[in-house]
Amino acid sequence: MTEQEIFSELSSVFHDVFDDETITLRPETTADDIDGWDSQAHVTLVVATEMHFGIRFRTAELESLRNVGDFVQLIQSRLVDSKAAGKDGG
């Protein structure tokens, strides 16, 4: 999945979680830019993202998810991990 594809899919997760289809994501978008992105919504966002992409974030990574760019980067590396695991037959 390209960065652009991840971006667009992540947008649909944001639209769903915040129930607002007008949200436009940029890498530097943070909680300050989106209405309702509080600590509870953040957890929801993390779980919804995990479910959507079929990945799991690690506890160590949760604190580094500060803006949309962080999300995209981490999703990408997780997707690469799971692909590699798939190749190994794991």
Binding site: D16, V17, D19, S39, Q40, V43, T44, V46, V47, A48, M51, R56, F57, R58, T59, L62
Partner: protein, 639 residues
């Protein structure tokens, strides 16, 4: 295992929600939202639906009675984060025909909220109070080497504390308390040997939960038994250590839809909204194959055949539900004689013809047949669960009769019992000896109707029933059933005032209030507790008058003159307390038109309404000296 697996999957949930949001007519909009609550949905979709529903309900609060939705207030007090679960509780409530207002107590401050009077909680006036605590608070202060006796002592201490909290909930707030059982979150220390170490975290939590269950039974507290229900899902499915470390969520967000339904079904059960009747298809539902094609000897049932054994097991589960008091009915497209033959001739049938209160096999459409069954049993279609292996039949029944619950079924019949149990249609808030008799009572009703259909002489029929009405004040033993009736009777209910068991207890304890219940026996059997009357002196009507706050009766005993006999008892009781007249009140609802002339028929005269009453209620006066109408019932008064 999939959550909400009994709910059908919507082909386009998001689109349907968008469309519902645009509906202008408030009633239509709400009914669309209720419909969507009964589709399978993940936690994000559930939150979206909740946002729409909450907005809509706050903008149009008068909609509820039109759609016959119930209302309840639920407070959640917890020692962990629960905010993310609340939308799913509300939506599951909506799916089960209850709009829930919710209040989440301050995180971790459940003791203070209950023991000191908390102004927010007082203002909210919860009818239900869910206490969700974390096992970690309870296991941390005991030494691993503690003896059995020390563990017992520690548990007794914890339970005593819980009892104090429960009583505070009941006495301070008149709320029905629901205690969540503890989830063992620690991994094993010794492996299987944990069970042999009294103070190992796993063994301790198990003992604690057992003690919670016994104490809850004694205190009239209901359980949200996540420990019990969780066995089927596994602790990993319910909680996620990552979410615990991140946000102190004991139940992970993704599990919210299932958890929310567990909570909502308990409240719905307390409000009397649980289903009462299980209607089954025959071919490929309770046996394998088609009896009309394969013959009685050709259907697959038992006989060591894996598929046949699986059907047998499903029949055993259904039979057990019948013994619990769920009415069983058959609705099948079949030749009636062939269908009956399978029951009378197949040697392995677990379900017998006598277990079935209403048996309809013909070639009519199933919606019409379900209406027929409802008529015959004297039950509302909204108390039905219809189980059919055929997706097309399920679809048609859902469309024609949206009030009937029609669960999706797993592909494999071996999973039918488990998935029917998962659906929680028959969740109970009490279990009394009346429930056990109920199944028999439905059949007796069918027999009575058969006699009635043959009779042309109504008076002779009634005399012939040899009825005895047993009247008593509401005793502790009557409380669960009386409260059940108060919360679920819609048709024969003059005022439709609902009281939780805790609220009813308060009324019963008040010496000024006359709180009566009635049982009816006849030659076909015991109908159990079938009527409740609450009356009290009321300032407006003067000190010699008793106002009838509540008068309701089970529709099972309609048309048997029970009302007249009950009035006789009531008049006597009121007279003994110095009353000269009774005041009847009728508050019309969309469902109680049946009793609009109840007081007129009993000889009450119209009375003018108090000024502050809404226009729709009517009032009636009965002079206690007036002889009550004639009836053929022997009255027994228990003291």
């Amino acid at each position: 295992m999939e959550q909400l697996a009994w709910l059908p999957i919507h082909p386009d949930f998001a689109g349907a929600l968008k469309a519902a949001r645009l509906v202008a007519d408030p009633e239509e909009k709400l009914s669309r939202l209720v419909e969507l609550a009964n589709y399978r949905r993940n936690f994000v979709a559930t939150e979206k639906l909740d946002r729409t529903a909450a907005q809509h309900l706050s903008s149009a609060p008068n909609l509820l009675s039109a759609l016959q939705l119930r209302q309840a207030r639920l407070a959640v007090l917890s020692s962990h984060t629960v905010d993310h679960l609340v939308p799913a509780i509300r939506i599951a409530g909506l799916g089960r025909r209850t709009t829930l207002s919710t209040h989440v107590g301050p995180y971790g401050l459940y003791r203070q909220a209950l023991l000191d009077s908390n102004p927010d909680l007082v203002a909210f006036a919860p009818q239900f109070l869910l206490l969700a605590l974390d096992a970690r608070d309870y296991t941390s202060d005991i030494a691993l080497s503690a003896s059995e006796a020390e563990v017992t002592e520690a548990i007794v201490k914890h339970i005593d504390e819980l009892r104090v909290l429960w009583r505070a909930g009941r006495e301070r707030y008149a709320a029905q308390v629901i205690q969540q059982t503890f989830v063992a979150s620690s991994p094993t220390l010794f492996g299987s040997y944990d069970g042999l170490v009294p103070a190992s975290p796993g063994a301790f939590v198990e003992r604690l939960n057992d003690a919670v269950r016994s104490a809850a039974r004694e205190e009239g507290v209901l359980l949200l038994d996540v420990a019990w229900l969780g066995r089927r899902w596994g602790n990993e499915a319910i909680g996620d250590p990552v979410r615990w470390h991140q946000a102190k969520q004991l139940v992970a967000p993704h599990f919210a839809p299932q958890y929310g339904d567990w909570v909502a079904r308990i409240i719905a059960a307390s409000l009397g909204l649980s289903r009462k009747c299980l209607v089954l298809d025959l071919d490929n539902t309770i046996w394998g194959g088609v009896v009309g094609d394969d013959g009685v000897e050709g259907i697959r049932l038992g006989q060591g055949d894996p598929l046949g054994e699986a059907y047998l097991e499903f029949q055993r589960y259904v039979a057990a539900l019948g013994k619990r008091g769920i009415a069983l009915a058959i609705c099948s497209k079949n030749d009636p004689a062939t269908a009956e033959a399978a029951f009378s001739e197949h040697p392995e049938m677990v379900l017998h013809r006598t277990d079935i209160a209403s048996f309809v096999a013909n070639w009519d459409d199933k919606a019409s047949n379900l209406r027929r069954i409802a008529q015959e049993l004297g039950l509302g279609l909204d108390s039905f669960v219809f189980v059919d292996d055929n997706p097309a039949e399920r679809h048609i029944v859902r469309r024609e009769l949206p009030m009937v619950a029609v669960p999706e079924l797993p592909d494999d019949v071996a999973n039918y019992p488990g998935s029917l149990a998962d659906a929680g249609y028959f969740e109970a808030a009490s279990f009394t000896s009346d429930d056990v008799m109920r199944a028999r009572a439905y059949q007796a009703n069918v027999e009575r109707q058969a006699v009635l259909a043959r009779t042309t002489d109504m008076e002779g029929y009634l005399k012939n029933l040899s009825m005895t009405l047993i009247a008593s004040e509401i005793r502790p033993v009557d409380l669960p059933r009386a409260s059940q009736l108060i919360n679920k009777s819609n048709q024969f209910n003059l005022t439709t005032r609902r009281y939780t068991e805790a609220e009813l207890q308060r009324l019963v304890d008040d010496p000024a209030i006359l709180a009566m219940c009635f049982r009816l026996k006849d030659r076909f059997g015991d109908n159990g507790l079938i009527s409740v009357i609450l009356a009290r002196p009321d300032v407006h009507w003067g000190k010699n008058a008793f106002l009838i706050d509540t008068w309701l009766m089970s529709c099972r005993v309609l048309g048997r003159q029970v009302e007249a006999a009950a009035l006789e008892v009531l008049a006597n009781e009121a007279a003994n307390r110095g009353a000269q007249s009774l005041i009847g009140e009728y508050r019309p609802t969309p469902r109680n038109g049946l009793v609009s002339d109840h007081y007129a028929k009993l000889g009450f005269a119209p009375a003018s309404a108090p000024r502050d009453e809404s226009n729709s209620a009517s009032f009636w006066r009965f002079d206690i000296q007036t002889p009550p109408p004639r009836h053929f019932i022997t009255v027994e008064r228990l003291s």
